[in-house]
């Protein structure tokens, strides 16, 4: 029974919960049991609170018994990246800096999930402060790829991706600054959606790079992504960058839009550095859309090659500013042997942050420092304009852009750990989406010969998530990648 439950999509579980074939308590118990059985190997979680999850599940069952069920998410266990606040639960950002921090309030997305009746389940591992592409930068432990425990799950939301892949949660939330939802989704055979910047509130998300960060779901199917996005999207007065736009019923829209669509293939995403097996799987997906009657058009995003450089200037500049708040004074790690306030700042930060965070603070401080601001930061913002214009020009001809999500399948732990530039380049296909503020989605599109998942990225037009999800859903329901699971 439990193995049948843990790998079901939300859409099916919602029916079973509604018809009372299964209770939320039974489902949550199955997820807890699965987590206890496999997490010592996968290490997707930083912590979980079994009693709290079961109490939420009991409350869901009671609501349902009283005829007050709140929709498809009511009673579904959803894991949360340990960078999104859940009141009364630890909030560590996988950093020693916040090792003992307990969140005093809920993030807006958490509140929305709770209002939808979801069971908030566990705190999922990440690269420290969401900085990384492998989840090796966590101060606590490295999460393993469920398909090959010697390999990384991707990052920074590696815990969120691995938990869904391993059956330790039905869905999870992550955050995506340069690909941190889509790249781990691709490496772990799950669906990962980064919504348009401003569609989902960032209130209660620990800030990394504020103009790029966006919260989004990891799910088994595109249908589940539509359900989860519907629950978390919407204007929030607590986030000044939150966008006032109508939120359609994403799930209902899936069946209304049938295409055929115009699909753009950017030549710059299919060149040097792309693994041949990834290229072959993505090209097969292109053929699928072509057979469906979609028009496949070559498009050009000529400033693609500058994306990584622009990203590492803007993201580190914003991170050096955002992480200034960790000074050991009001919260977070405080050095025990500082003799004055200045030393308290220097030592608390030195002891609390890990190497990748320090590296990025240094780079960000450098590019913002006097004499270098125009040369680096201002120039990067201008090239960001050109990157954004490339996408908007392409959308004059096509509905959606199709690319690989990551250049290679999951790499081995340690393989890129000592070479930051090589690690940074693993986000090469996802970074442009954040710089332009667009919605992007990764869906499973195959496996390598050695059994490693491969992902396909679809990039949509601003705030047209309904269209993007429909295009992805068409592919998703015609393929059975979501029914394949790791051997654990």
């Amino acid at each position: 029974m439990s193995s049948e439950l843990i790998y079901q999509p939300i859409s099916q579980l919602a029916d079973q919960l509604a018809s009372k074939k299964v209770s939320s308590v039974e489902l949550t118990q199955a997820i807890v049991a699965r987590t206890k059985a496999v997490d010592p190997k996968v290490k997707a979680f930083n912590s979980f609170d079994e009693a709290d999850a079961l109490a939420q599940a009991r409350a869901s069952d009671e609501r349902r018994a009283a005829g007050q069920a709140r929709g498809p998410l009511d009673g579904i266990p959803i894991g949360i990246k340990d960078v999104i606040s859940v009141e009364g639960q630890p909030l560590t950002a996988s950093s020693k800096m916040l090792a003992n921090f307990v969140s005093p309030y809920d993030a807006t997305v958490t509140k929305k999930l709770k209002n939808a009746g979801a069971v908030c389940w566990g705190r999922l591992n990440l690269d420290e402060f969401a900085m990384g592409s492998s989840t090796e930068n966590s101060a606590f432990h490295t999460t393993s790829n469920p398909y090959d425990l010697d390999r990384v799950p991707g990052g920074s939301s590696g815990g969120s991706a691995a938990a869904v892949a391993a059956g330790e949660a039905i869905a999870t939330l992550g955050s995506d600054t340069g690909g941190s939802i889509r790249q781990p989704a691709a490496l772990c055979n799950v669906v990962g959606l980064k919504p348009t910047y401003g569609l989902v509130s960032r209130y209660g998300l620990i800030a990394f790079a504020s103009s790029l960060d966006q919260i989004g779901p990891f799910t088994r199917t595109v249908e589940d992504a539509a359900i989860t996005l519907g629950a978390i999207a919407g204007y929030d007065p607590l986030d000044s960058t939150s966008f006032k736009t109508e939120i359609p019923d994403y799930l209902a829209e899936l069946s209304k839009r049938k295409g055929p669509w115009k699909i753009g293939i950017p030549k710059e995403y299919f060149g040097e550095g792309l693994d041949p097996e990834v290229a072959a799987a993505v090209e097969k997906a292109v053929s699928y859309y072509e057979k469906l009657g979609c028009e496949i058009k070559n498009v050009s995003l000529p400033h693609t090659e500058y994306g990584v450089g622009v990203y590492y200037i803007i993201a580190t500049a914003e991170c050096s500013s955002n992480l200034g708040r960790y000074d050991g004074v009001r919260y977070g790690h405080r050095s025990k042997d500082a003799k004055d306030i200045t030393e308290l700042y220097f030592k608390s930060r030195a002891e609390g942050f890990g190497p990748e965070v320090k590296r990025r603070i240094i780079l960000g401080t450098y590019v913002l420092s006097s004499g270098y601001y125009d040369a680096y930061y201002l120039r990067a913002q201008k090239v960001r304009t050109l990157i954004r214009q490339d996408f908007l020009n392409a959308y004059k001809e096509v509905d959606v852009i199709l690319t690989p999500t990551a250049p290679t399948p999951a790499f081995k732990k340690g393989e890129k750990a000592s070479n930051p530039l090589a690690m940074y380049l693993s986000d090469i296909y996802t970074i442009g989406v954040n710089l332009a503020g667009l919605p992007g989605l990764s869906i499973p599109c195959g496996f390598s010969k050695s059994g490693l998942p491969i992902g396909l990225q679809l990039i949509g037009q601003p705030f047209k998530e309904a269209e993007l999800l429909s295009i992805a859903h068409t592919y998703d329901r015609a393929h059975d990648w979501a029914t394949r699971h790791p051997n654990l």
């Binding site: 005093p104 200037i313 050991g328 405080r334 030393e343 930060r349 603070i361 240094i362 120039r379």
Partner: protein, 96 residues
């Protein structure tokens, strides 16, 4: 654009209020030189007349209604403080 070798790690670490060990300084300087060399490519782009983008979808004049809202209770706000006394955060002496 400036040469990557301009990175004075002691100066930057001081600006960032971040104490680094000699090993960290050597390691970060070398790694960041690689990254900065990559970033140097941006020099090739003609940005004449291009406006900078700070946000994908900038929103201006976001005002909250001027109505008092309850904040976190003092106890909750101080719960994560490393040291506290009498509803205040305790820090080493700042003024002699």
């Amino acid at each position: 654009m400036s040469a990557a070798s301009d990175l004075n790690i002691d100066h930057i670490a001081n600006l960032a209020r971040l104490a680094l060990t000699p090993e960290e300084k050597t390691k970060f300087a070398a790694q960041l030189n690689d990254v900065l060399t990559n970033i140097e490519q941006l020099k090739k782009v003609d940005v004449t007349g291009v406006e900078p983008t700070a946000h994908g979808f900038p929103i201006f004049n976001v005002w909250a209604d001027d109505v008092a809202q309850p904040g976190l209770p003092v106890e909750a706000a101080l719960k994560n403080a490393p040291a506290q006394r009498n509803h205040m955060v305790v820090v080493p002496k700042v003024v002699e």
